[in-house]
Amino acid sequence: MTAVTDPTARAAGADNPGLGARPVGDQPWRRISGMVAIGALAQMFIALSGMPVGLDDRTIIEPVLSLGYLGLVWLPLLMGYRAGCEPVLEGMPVHAKGRREVVAGALVGIGAGASISILVLLLHNFDLRDPLVNWGPQLAEVLGFGRSPGFAVIIWIAIGAGGGAAAGSLHLVPSPIRRAVIAMAATVIGAAVIERVVTDLAGGLGLGTAADRLYAPRGGLSWPGAVALAAVSGIAAGSGRGRISRTRTRIQTLEGTTRTVTNAALVVAAGLVAVVLPLLVGKITNELLANVGMFVLLALGLNIVVGLAGILDLGYVAFYAVGGYTVAVLTASASPGIAPELPWLAALVGVVVMAVLTGLFIGAPVIRMRGDYLAIVTLGFGEIIRLLFLSDWLSGWFGGAQGITNIPGVQVFGLATVKGTDPRAVLYLVMVFCALAVYVSWRLERSRLGRAWMAIREDESVAEVMGVNTVNAKLLAFVVGAVLGSFSGAIFAAKVGSIFPSSFLILISIIILVVVIFGGMGNVVGVIAGAVVLVGVLGGPRQPGLLQELSEYKLLVYGALLVWMMIQRPEGLVPNVGRNRELHPDEFRQDAWLRGRASCGEHDKGANAADDSEARRR
């Protein structure tokens, strides 16, 4: 337990973003050949995972591109771009770019194309269906375009070479064009992904016809729609250089009251959107948003524990379970033990009490442990709690594997009943609690306790020497996180109407952790954005997201994303603006140089790190 416990504060020199940053000019071809090999293997894996088949039904652009093919095409493009991307230490002279970028991109693309081609040939000649479940005629059909293997080989290598070279040559074009191209691709794919929300919303606003133009009748963007979107976004991105980040900076540098007013206006605007949006969209979208909201709530709770206090709690799902079961026992008439049949709001008091007790009970033994032991032990507690709910021993109270059913909804002062059949009402309920969680995070972060948590996160032993009672502070973080997590469980129980131990797998803890890290630990806005993007698009452990077709693969994506984030951007995708505020560009640059942060090409340094992250996301 030495030095810094915060993952984001890395020692200089350790800040080496994996593939992208070997020493400058040090055998570039070796690095490129490595990327070719990685690209080929990864491409083969994607094909064998069955994604091309499983995702083929989802259309991105009506006649030309399905999600299945997109799954095969993105890798050579991205890696082709990365291959040509010479790592440059900021402040060092930029290496002259030229043919090498294009050739490197093309090579990586050819590698990926060749691996698909080999797979096509293998598919035609061997049967490996025994271990590999996706091996078979369907895969051969998709990969071979339904034609002869020879044709497929030529096409795949051509696609790889062309795509890779094009991606590599992005390094050579002026930056507005590059930005425009990236923006076009992102907008088109993004619009196709959020199709359901857009059509739903357009219907609610009476713009149904416009949405019909944009999207094809059988799903996916229609090609004229895609072209129009691409044109608009391309022009906007190409011409509006840094306008967004400039606006941001301007808002951040506002002084005193102006700033308070602006902030207040932003909050009110967000609140208005939150109130109006559920009215405009249909049941399915509301259901989706309600699921997202429950994860926002969980992620905000975990963010206090992991993000602010730096305690890696892997058993967070335990509090979700405790919240759910407390509500079930206290409100359901079918509760096997005691069944007081309280109204939900009264049961909420019980939820808070139980969450605090569980938090103290789990927290007290682990709080003095080394951070890594703590992680595993909390994981153990999370699993023990689920096993106890599942066991015959306590089935007299919690129903064992049969769970507790017939949980009534939430009566809001006799005005309305919120239950799963009315997702809009659930969404409003969830949003109330999310707002509460945001308020709690916001207030605590700017309090004596919040500062103590951050100090513990930065350096626990120094925090203790500076007079912070670390045991108490950490325990409080644990308890506050527990209470927020249990709220989500309480809503979950009322929403679903029945509760089973299988709803509380460890996997939920991991997914919430991914959400928090993806959004940026300790950053409330980031965590909310992370939850909306990840859970909204990929879906929760059981709940479908916008890319329903991806459900078989979403856990894979979560895992890969977690590794990728930790290696490339441990600070999260949304940089913590509050922390970087009022940094003078000079010092920022100097700092970046000191940290030896290798980066690609001529990113705008420092001041608009936000812009930077946008670019990387694409």
Partner: protein, 263 residues
């Protein structure tokens, strides 16, 4: 009771894996003194600080502060009693701002908890304002170096000398009686270290603190100390005024002698 030293160690020993880092050390500091602890590397100086601030537990012996033993207390309780310290290898809360660094150090002098923060009570707001004001006061001790736009900068972007200053400010913010400075001028240029030497004297004269510092820079030791204690191999080999110590043959052999060989 006035005769009792503010800090006193008795027969203090600590052993690391068979190596005796401190051996039956008796060390005392009177209230209002500035005492320098010097000695060659590995003499046990930082170990002494670690023991006083309860980061390490002694194998035997006692540490008494203001008349009562502080043995067995947690580091935060020691700080609450009124001992603050800095670290040889500056250990700031890197991602917290300059102001937050000194605000968090007032933790043990303040009381507000979760409820106060959530309900945004009057008491909470008053306390926050006090913490902030005292933070400003402590930081302005170093002139304009840590104030103004720097208040909201993360500690990690400060220059090395400023980080050392911020560490001292952070220790001062715990409102101590006794402050332990571990090589406060290490890495500073002569002008900066002369300025800091002056500030150390002001710590006693204006802030009423008792100061113990570990220092290798002999000019600082000469200019600021009322008394110098020389440690070698975990034992006191000399003590007294700078002049006495610097002419003590044992010291010259153990310490200054070695310096002369390899300046």
């Amino acid at each position: 009771m006035n005769s009792e030293p503010i800090l006193q160690t008795r027969n203090l020993s600590v052993t690391f894996g068979g190596l005796k880092a401190l051996a039956d050390l008796d060390f005392a500091v009177e209230k209002g003194e500035i005492v320098s602890v010097i000695g060659p590397n590995g003499a046990g100086k930082t170990t002494l600080f670690n023991l006083i601030s309860a980061m390490t537990a002694p194998s035997s012996g006692d540490i008494r502060f203001e008349g009562s033993s502080i043995l067995g207390l947690d580091p935060n309780q020691v700080t609450a009693r009124g001992i603050a310290r800095t670290f040889q290898n500056v250990r700031l809360f890197a991602k917290m701002t300059v102001l937050e660094n000194v605000m968090v150090a007032q933790h043990c002098r303040t009381r507000q908890g979760v409820l106060g923060a959530l309900l945004y009570t009057r008491a909470f707001r008053r306390e926050e304002a006090e913490i902030r004001a005292y933070g400003h006061e402590v930081l302005s001790f170093f002139g304009s170096r840590l104030t103004g736009y720097r208040l909201d900068q993360p500690a990690s972007v400060l220059s090395y000398a400023n980080r050392r200053r911020l560490e001292i400010a952070r220790a001062m913010a715990t409102r101590p009686e006794l402050i332990l400075l571990d090589e406060p001028v290490a890495g500073m240029n002569p002008v900066e270290s002369a300025q800091l030497t002056e500030l150390i004297a002001r710590l006693r004269d204006e802030w009423g603190l008792t100061v113990v510092l570990i220092e290798h820079d002999m000019s600082v030791v000469r200019d600021v100390s009322d008394r110098v204690v020389v440690l070698d191999h975990g034992e006191t080999i000399a003590g007294g005024s700078y002049r006495d110590v610097s002419t003590d043959p044992a010291v010259i052999e153990a310490y200054l002698g070695r310096r002369a060989e390899s300046p």
